[in-house]
């Protein structure tokens, strides 16, 4: 039994080589946990298997080895308990915005009346600011609006766990910023547990309680779990003035630029205890056990200025 709401244990994914040679192992022995109500982001370079991990959590893909437990029950297939927002929105293009949401709500609550389904769906359409556009087809919406519909659909089914696969990856920077703030707003009104993939360090810091850093594949690992201790509510303009912001940011960027490569080297690779050497801030949480390690170099005022 683990204390985590969601627990990934020893996840491994390998693909058989096409020429019958050694199979390609994308990631190996991935362990992490997510607490209830927590917002966790995962960052890593392309090809490290982030999307595969998310699909395994969703139940859409199967791990070669290892299990995912949600509320101590094994995840064996897709479920309405785990809502997914895909990068390409995945709205059904032949039905209207409203119907894209009502079909999901109907699936969640088969016993509801038409009116109940409609009211519930409209509530979430309003929440993402799309009232008035509900009769439009997805093709008549901009990319940002489509992603809002997708987010509304995911929140409308009130899943226990929300999985976001680079939800803002295809949006321009301005739209992205707006929707990020909307997401925080919606999330803070709920008690939703969120697991999100992103490539954007600023986005991750803005949104997350904790960021998992992955080394490069093959044999990718979760090397660190960085706790973001910047108090909420956060917004894009104020967060960069917080004294910890750039320390955290620099730490993550340094990881992505330098150490994600070094740690991917089979010689220096570690499995159980992620490397803590060189980690200055913030506290390290061992993703496997959840135990918090003390900072090696606590933050000083000097670093704030830097």
């Amino acid at each position: 039994m683990s204390q985590y709401f969601l627990n990934a244990q020893g996840l491994t994914k390998s693909f058989p080589a096409s020429d019958g040679g050694e199979p390609l192992t994308v990631f190996d022995n991935i362990n992490f946990g997510v607490n209830e109500g927590e917002f966790v982001c995962i960052i890593g370079h392309s090809g490290c298997g982030k999307s595969t991990i998310l699909n395994i959590l969703a139940g859409l893909d199967q791990a070669t080895d290892g299990v995912v437990l949600m509320e101590n029950k094994e995840v064996s297939g897709p479920s309405l308990d785990r809502g997914v927002v895909f990068q390409n929105y995945s709205l059904l293009p032949w039905i209207s915005t409203l119907k894209n949401i009502t079909f999901a709500v109907k699936s969640r609550h088969p016993s509801w009346t038409k009116q109940q389904v409609l009211d519930h769906s409209m509530k979430y359409i309003e929440m993402v600011g799309l009232k008035g556009a509900e009769q439009r087809k997805p093709s008549q919406l901009s990319g940002g609006m489509r992603q809002r519909v997708s987010i509304a659909r995911a929140f409308a089914i009130e899943p226990k766990l929300l999985l976001l696969d680079e939800p803002f990856g295809a949006l321009d920077a301005l739209t992205r910023g707006m929707i990020q703030e909307e997401l925080i707003k919606i999330w803070s009104q709920s008690t939703q547990t969120v697991f999100m993939i992103t490539h954007d360090v600023d986005e991750a810091i803005l949104l997350s309680d904790r960021i998992l850093l992955m080394t490069n594949g093959p044999y990718a690992q979760i090397a660190e779990s960085v706790v973001i201790d910047i108090p909420r509510p956060r917004n894009r303009t104020d967060i960069i003035h917080h004294p910890h912001y750039y320390t955290i940011r620099n730490h993550i960027v340094e990881f992505l630029v330098k150490r994600s490569k070094e740690l991917a080297n089979p010689e220096t690779r570690t499995v159980e205890a992620p490397s803590v050497s060189g980690l200055r801030y913030p506290p390290e949480v061992n993703p496997a056990t959840g135990s918090v390690q003390e900072n090696m170099y606590p933050l000083t005022g000097k670093e704030d200025a830097a």
Partner: protein, 275 residues
């Protein structure tokens, strides 16, 4: 581009006029060089050789036929509308039966790689067979020329629908399937809510190809089995040496074929979606 429409219509009209004009004037009967013999008088003129009829003669016949398309004066003299209706009835029954079989089977093939692999050899062998080659066997087994011609339509229109349905279903984007899976849609709801609408444009394209082929084949089938229908009509008029009626019915076959295609094109547009 209103302008383009007008200009293209004008150009079509010019081409048609030129074509009909050249046909009309290059195809005049030769001048009588000497006085008609008694026999020629009896036969109504001197024409040593049969000619392809002129547009004006065809037009005259067309007006005559179309003014009373549904008359019925016995097996050898029925209105063109009636004959077309006979053919349409056969085409539609064969075609709808084919759709009833092809779409569910296509679904199955598209959904299951196993069924695809298992059924593919049969389809590949049966598909290239000329539908008329089935006629003797159909006549022998079914013992009815009417049902046999419906069967021939069935067998020729099944393949495009089957193949397009299978292709459409198997190439539904994985994202849509994942949406269905994450929302725990049952297999029936997935089929009707996600796969069918996603594959509908491809399926309708197959249906459009099929109706075209069915209309091509019915003429030949009716020439073989005889009795009624536009194919029989063409062949009957040929036996009567009434080339004017032959050309007229060729035109009518074209017009009806075009209307069928337009209807299916309209239906395809209804299910089209923009991603």
């Amino acid at each position: 581009m209103q302008n383009l429409h007008v200009r293209s219509a004008l150009l079509s009209l010019v081409i048609l006029t030129l074509f009909l004009g050249i046909w009309e004037f290059a195809n005049q009967p030769p001048e009588a060089k000497e006085a008609l013999t008694e026999y020629e008088m009896l036969m109504g003129g001197s024409e040593p050789q049969a000619r392809v009829p002129n547009p004006s003669e065809i037009g005259k016949l067309a007006i005559e036929e179309l003014s009373q398309p549904f008359y019925d004066k016995g097996p050898n003299d029925k209105g063109i509308g009636l004959q077309l209706l006979y053919s349409l009835k056969r085409v539609l029954s064969g075609y709808l039966l084919a759709a009833l079989v092809a779409i569910p089977v296509g679904f199955l093939i598209g959904m299951s790689p196993l069924m695809h692999k298992a059924l593919d050899p049969f389809i590949q062998v049966l598909k290239p067979i000329s539908p008329l080659a089935w006629m003797p066997l159909a006549l022998f087994i079914l013992k009815d020329s009417e049902i046999s011609s419906v069967f021939v339509i069935f067998i020729c229109s099944i393949w495009p629908m089957l193949i397009n349905t299978a292709f459409g279903v198997s190439s539904v984007k994985k994202d849509y399937i994942n949406v269905a899976r994450t929302h725990e849609l049952g297999s029936l709801r997935t089929a009707f809510l996600v796969i069918l609408p996603a594959a509908a444009p491809t399926i309708l394209t197959g249906m459009r190809i099929s109706i075209g082929i069915a209309w091509l084949v019915i003429v030949a089938a009716e020439m073989l089995v005889g009795g009624t229908g536009i194919g029989y009509y063409v062949w009957n008029e040929w036996n009567n040496l009434d080339l004017t009626a032959v050309v007229f019915s060729i035109l009518m076959i074209g017009v009806v074929g075009m209307v069928l295609d337009l209807l299916l094109a309209r239906a395809t547009k209804l299910v089209q979606y923009v991603e």
